[in-house]
């Protein structure tokens, strides 16, 4: 059993040995790099990583450079989870055969992918990895849009968001479908651990990543990743937007253990109205026209309902 890394405070955390370099091409203000560092810094174990095609991938491994100081692989848009599952399978085979070069080391296998690569095109591959019980962690960098290709809707894009393929216009309020509940779907694979995390709540994040790395079996992590470019906010406001997301309960932070024990891991002292979260982002600007204001009310109702549901599940332990 590997030793769980002790993280005392943010200063120590942010300066701990870094296996993801600051030298990358991500947008200023992008939350992806923050999340990746938080995930990687949560452990001292060796890492085998993958990224599915997307912002993170195209911005961190542009030949002849790499931002990764741990073994990393990218194959395609849909199969980053399976790439890491393949590596994990080889690890098991070589361990059994006594052919590991450093047999005393215990690597962790982590695949990073966007919401498009996870909720949509990579859905089947992730489902396969979860069902088969690979000892891997899949982390979704959930910015609710195909950001790398310029802002098309994914099945993670929420109602009322203006995306390039579901743009708000004179007769449209933008995206018509609500976000897919990927965490519930993944938990339903009977995996030992599924959780939602946010980069602003780094202690909660580290705890969950460490829990995920300690369990035996597949782990699913959904990380909210505010996107300055597609959500349309000032790059300096990334953490502020993340705070609005968690404190308005639009992104509740919780975990599901073995698909029955649901724990809410963050209860904001002052819950802010969803309206504030929406108002801070250009992608929801049109909702503040008179004819669409009813959608803001519906948003609030949906968030309240989901929060009540999570609370009921937490209490019922089902």
């Amino acid at each position: 059993m590997s030793e769980i890394k002790k993280v005392k405070n943010l200063k120590e955390f942010s300066t701990s040995a870094d296996r993801f370099e600051g030298a990358n091409l991500l947008c200023p203000g992008c939350a992806h790099s923050i999340i990746v560092r938080e995930v990687l810094n949560a452990t001292n174990n060796d890492l085998i990583l993958s990224a599915s095609t997307g912002c993170l991938e195209v911005c961190t491994a542009v030949y002849p450079y790499t931002s990764w100081d741990a073994s990393w692989i990218h194959i395609g848009f849909e199969n980053g989870s399976t790439a890491v599952a393949g590596a994990e399978t080889m690890y098991k085979a070589l361990k059994k055969k006594g052919r590991l070069k450093q047999p005393e080391r215990e690597p962790k296998f982590v695949s990073f992918a966007g919401d498009g690569a996870s909720y949509d095109i990579g859905f089947q591959w992730i489902s396969g990895c979860m069902e088969r019980g690979h000892n891997i962690m899949h982390v979704v960098l959930d910015n609710e849009v195909y950001a790398n290709t310029g802002g098309q809707r994914s099945s993670s894009t929420p109602i009322g968001s203006s995306a390039t393929t579901s743009p708000a216009g004179r007769v449209s309020y933008g995206e018509k479908k609500n976000k897919k509940d990927m965490i519930a779907i993944m938990a339903a694979h009977q995996i030992p651990y599924a959780a939602q995390v946010a980069p602003n709540k780094w202690k909660d994040m580290v705890k969950k990543i460490q829990h995920g790395m300690a369990v035996d079996g597949p782990v699913f992590i959904n990380a909210i990743s505010p996107c300055t470019t597609e959500w349309k906010f000032d790059p300096k406001d990334t953490m502020h937007i993340a705070d609005l997301a968690t404190d308005s309960l639009v992104f509740p932070l919780y975990e599901i253990i073995d698909n029955h024990e649901l724990n809410i891991t963050y209860r904001p002292k002052n819950v802010i109205p969803v309206e504030e979260y929406l108002a801070a982002q250009g992608r929801f600007k049109h909702l503040f026209k008179d004819e669409y204001k009813y959608l803001i009310k519906e948003w609030q109702e949906r968030v309240d309902e989901k929060w009540a549901y999570l609370n009921r599940r937490e209490e019922a332990r089902v």
Partner: protein, 407 residues
């Protein structure tokens, strides 16, 4: 070692699928990630059963699609070990995206392709449509005409693919059902001989070497993409054939069975010849012998290596014949057949350009009969006698309805 060896008879009665499965067992594959599809399924079922019975120490992952199968193989190979799988037809087509990635990432995976038609209309029987679909994917492609060869060529494939000068994935093709499900006598190697031939896997740029982290599958744009592709092509064009020849030579020393990049049959004094692949080679050889009794000097050229294409070896094999038939078992869908085109290319700048005609045959498992080949050789002789191609350049043979000919 913790697993059990298997005592084999000197000759076993195996179909092509089981022969390939036995070869995978003897190569001691570390990881197989696979998805079932007719007619290749028994290969990976065989591997799974060997694993269950402790004849292999490794891991078998039954994934949820062929795309995931090849994705898992890529991840496993990049991690640093011996990897193989098998597929056919639609499964092969689904894998295609990842085939290019496997070769571009220089990962020596061995893929057994049990050739089968591509839908629509759906068809489970053998033709070469899937084999042709893979021909630009950057893989080495070896072709078995019979179960014995499906067995032997797996060893050759690992030997060449895993060579550190090569590091390219390789396919071993066999014809669906005609080879994969037809049991024949197969001369075996002992487990020690077989493993000794392929040797222990020597990792390179392996992700599991934690002291040397490696980045696989990078982004390149107009500044580096071309150089990567050019280098891969260069290695296929210049390095693979010498390694294949060396592997053939070493294998002959071990087994007594001789393989050639281009397999010639009665070609020393042939006037007319057929160039084909797969099980048709054996049928053509039988008919060629019979044609000689009728006074037609017939020969056969079979392609043992499809990629890289044996450009000079083909030209050399065909340099003295007067008429050639290129037999393509895949619908060219709007062009001359692949073999027709490539043979034409190989001969175009040579002094002696024989009369070349193309035939499309056997789609969806339609039999190529001896009668077809008799009339084909007769047509070639007529071309020789007339000093020109007397038919259209592309004919469909064995198809019902009015005769189909083009060009």
């Amino acid at each position: 070692m913790a697993f059990d060896k298997m005592e084999l008879q000197k000759i076993e009665v195996w179909d092509g699928n089981f022969a390939a499965a036995q070869a995978l067992r003897q190569c001691q594959i570390d990881v197989v990630a696979a998805y079932p599809i007719t007619p290749s399924t028994p290969i990976v079922e065989g591997y799974a059963k060997f694993l269950s019975d402790n004849y292999i120490e490794g891991e078998f992952v039954m994934v949820e699609s062929e795309h995931a199968a090849m994705s898992g193989c890529v991840g496993a190979a990049a991690a640093g070990g011996r990897v193989a799988t098998a597929t056919s037809s639609q499964g092969f087509a689904l894998m295609v995206e990842v085939l290019y990635q496997a070769s571009g990432m220089r990962l020596p995976i061995v893929l057994n392709v049990v050739n089968r038609a591509l839908a629509a209309p759906l068809n489970v029987n053998g033709d070469h449509s899937d084999m042709y679909l893979g021909r630009d994917s950057g893989w080495i492609q070896l072709d078995a005409f019979a179960p014995q060869e499906a067995y032997d060529l797996n060893f050759i494939a690992f030997k060449v693919a895993e060579d550190h000068d090569i590091r390219l994935p390789a396919m071993v093709h066999q014809d669906g059902f005609m080879t994969s499900h037809t049991a024949q006598g197969v001369y075996t190697l002992t487990d020690d001989e077989a493993y000794g031939f392929v040797g222990e896997y020597k990792p390179m740029n392996d992700m599991l070497d934690f002291e040397h982290p490696v980045t696989h599958g990078v982004q390149t744009e107009e500044d580096w993409h071309f150089e990567h592709k050019a280098r891969q092509h260069n290695d296929l064009m210049t390095k693979v054939f010498p390694k294949i020849q060396a592997a053939f030579d070493a294998f002959e020393k071990l087994s007594g069975r001789k393989y050639n990049i281009v397999e010639k049959y009665d070609m020393n004094d042939a006037d007319v010849c057929v160039v084909c692949m797969g099980t048709s080679v054996e049928t053509a050889r039988e008919v060629a012998t019979e044609m000689r009794e009728k006074g037609i000097k017939a020969g056969v050229v079979g392609l043992r290596v499809i990629r890289p294409f044996p450009f000079f070896e083909i030209a050399e094999a065909l340099k003295d014949v007067k008429a050639i038939a290129a037999l393509d078992r895949s619908s060219p869908n709007g062009a001359p057949g692949m073999l027709f085109n490539e043979i034409a290319g190989a001969l175009f700048n040579t002094d002696k350009r024989a009369l070349l005609s193309g035939y499309v045959y056997g789609l969806g498992g339609r039999d190529l009969t001896k009668a077809h080949l008799v009339s084909l050789y007769t047509e070639l002789q007529a071309n020789v006698d007339a000093g020109k191609v007397t038919t259209q350049l592309q004919q469909f043979i064995g198809v019902r309805g009015p005769k189909l000919a083009f060009l």
